[in-house]
Symmetry: C2
Subunit: 357 residues, 2 copies
Amino acid sequence: MIRPVEWRNGAVVLLDQRLLPGQEVYRVYRDHKEVAKAIKDMVVRGAPAIGVTAAMGIALGMKTSRSRDLRRTFDAICKRFAATRPTAVNLFWAIDRMRNAFDEIADRSPEVVREVLRQEALTIHEEDIANNRALGGFGASLLPRKGTVLTHCNAGALATAGYGTALGVIRAAHESGKKLTVLADETRPFLQGARLTAWELKKDRIPVTVITDNMSGHLFKTGAIDAVVVGADRIAANGDAANKIGTYMVAVLAARHKIPFYVAAPVSTVDPNSPTGDDIPIEERPSREVTHILGEPITPRGVKVANPAFDVTPNDLITAIITDRGVAKRPYKRSLAKLLRSPAQAKKQRAKPSTRP
Amino acid sequence: MIRPVEWRNGAVVLLDQRLLPGQEVYRVYRDHKEVAKAIKDMVVRGAPAIGVTAAMGIALGMKTSRSRDLRRTFDAICKRFAATRPTAVNLFWAIDRMRNAFDEIADRSPEVVREVLRQEALTIHEEDIANNRALGGFGASLLPRKGTVLTHCNAGALATAGYGTALGVIRAAHESGKKLTVLADETRPFLQGARLTAWELKKDRIPVTVITDNMSGHLFKTGAIDAVVVGADRIAANGDAANKIGTYMVAVLAARHKIPFYVAAPVSTVDPNSPTGDDIPIEERPSREVTHILGEPITPRGVKVANPAFDVTPNDLITAIITDRGVAKRPYKRSLAKLLRSPAQAKKQRAKPSTRP
């Protein structure tokens, strides 16, 4: 099983996704500041994986700190992680969970605090895998018995603690005997589809064909696509879903050609504090990701580029939202609120001071 | 002025567009077989430029041939060029023009035949530039006085004998004092937008911002795009337009956001023998263009890819078709037929044996 993030021997270990598929390199982090930088630099990416990594990074920071003011240290560490990437809400959700755990034992000895935070991070990690498996089970039944499923970016094992959200649905369908071929958008500029989704699916022997991001329209038109499944970095209360740049174009094309368009994400991706997609901040990434590929320039020197990392797909283009607690359908405001209230994480949903910006 | 193809000292000279923007290299061809290979390998690309290059290649082939059977030689050379790229109809149009010229003087001396064919190729070259300027004039008035124009691929000076079709419209508007910024889709897999469109526009000091192909949807949604202008490789009699892969997705998004979508191409791009877009053959290019960038692999080894080079935008998504003889509007079957019958090339339109497949 692919493990993009792990806690091992008191350190955080990340599979460096920037080097895939050419090299499989695991980096060991003993400094939480370096973990935060790794999130920012996309050593690890994918909303759920970012959340798990931040939780482990916070546990690491508390473990290595020599300060006697635990709360001040904790707040500073959380602030650092909250500033890494603005769009994925799982990051803020994970920080909130760590804060809840901290608040409950803040007056105990440093040893107890450290151990409880380490345990909470490990729990978040384990729950994410379990949640993905549950999500995969709910979603698998929505896919055809035989056909071609388009996905954008990488919402796979590499984007989570393991198994994946969108790819989790495809994996579960594949495991249940459905004959699926995956079309993977290469997903410029970071090429998560060409590099990561193709790598994962090849490992699992699920047939995959890589296309450039501008080809799916033609393939929808020629009837080559039966369903679309993508992940999400933040889902607004009304079902509008922020995901990797380009998702919106795929959704518009799917709607035009009457092909079901599914969003797969754990309920931790749903942000009740963002009423609509307009309330979701869109991260602008460095120019160099667009102007250079593998370190080589592809544009004339000094040319201006834009690099918004995400876009928002409006809820009316989404056929269903597949979560770890069941499948939400329109109207999403009601169905998502119901899933958020369901038992699994009721305890964690109690109002606490939020780190969300 | 940028000259991607020229006849110089009895040879065909091509600017190697595969090396731009890093290197500006002009290759001298004295063998017509190498010119045909250069078209296939995309040393030169863009429907009008391919047409001009094929005409010059045919003149070169006749000039260097030692055969005494001129017609057999001519037919063999035309067949070779007709087999280079299947979608751009300007290729077949140029071959037909060379054939018409040949038929009129086939019984004359080899010297006369060679000189007439050389002259015809030079005429096609000059006419293409003049046609682009006329086209630019017709199109410029359609663009806003101030705003942002999206283009896909490169339909510029580099895609023609000079000046360009879609970029010709933008150039003409810029020359007339309109304040335009160009958004250039990078256009995977060959990166014509990032490499060529950005290079041309920078040279002409027209403001340009490069985006990846999956970003325009988000920018349409945020109101950042005021108009779209693209070229075409073949326009069916009903106005359906084949152009670089990805154009269809842009057209669908433009329609959703009620932004005008213009196709700019000389009438030689209109193919009366293709009643609709379904009759246009779509070229499938080598996998390596998708799996490798600048010679380096971006996908796992052995992964399957698709590489259709073009798609077809249905006529109902096209606001207007800008040609060198005026602007065609819906219904295109009638308006395009009228432009095809208009005087400029009436002589050339006489029925002659066609090289079209």
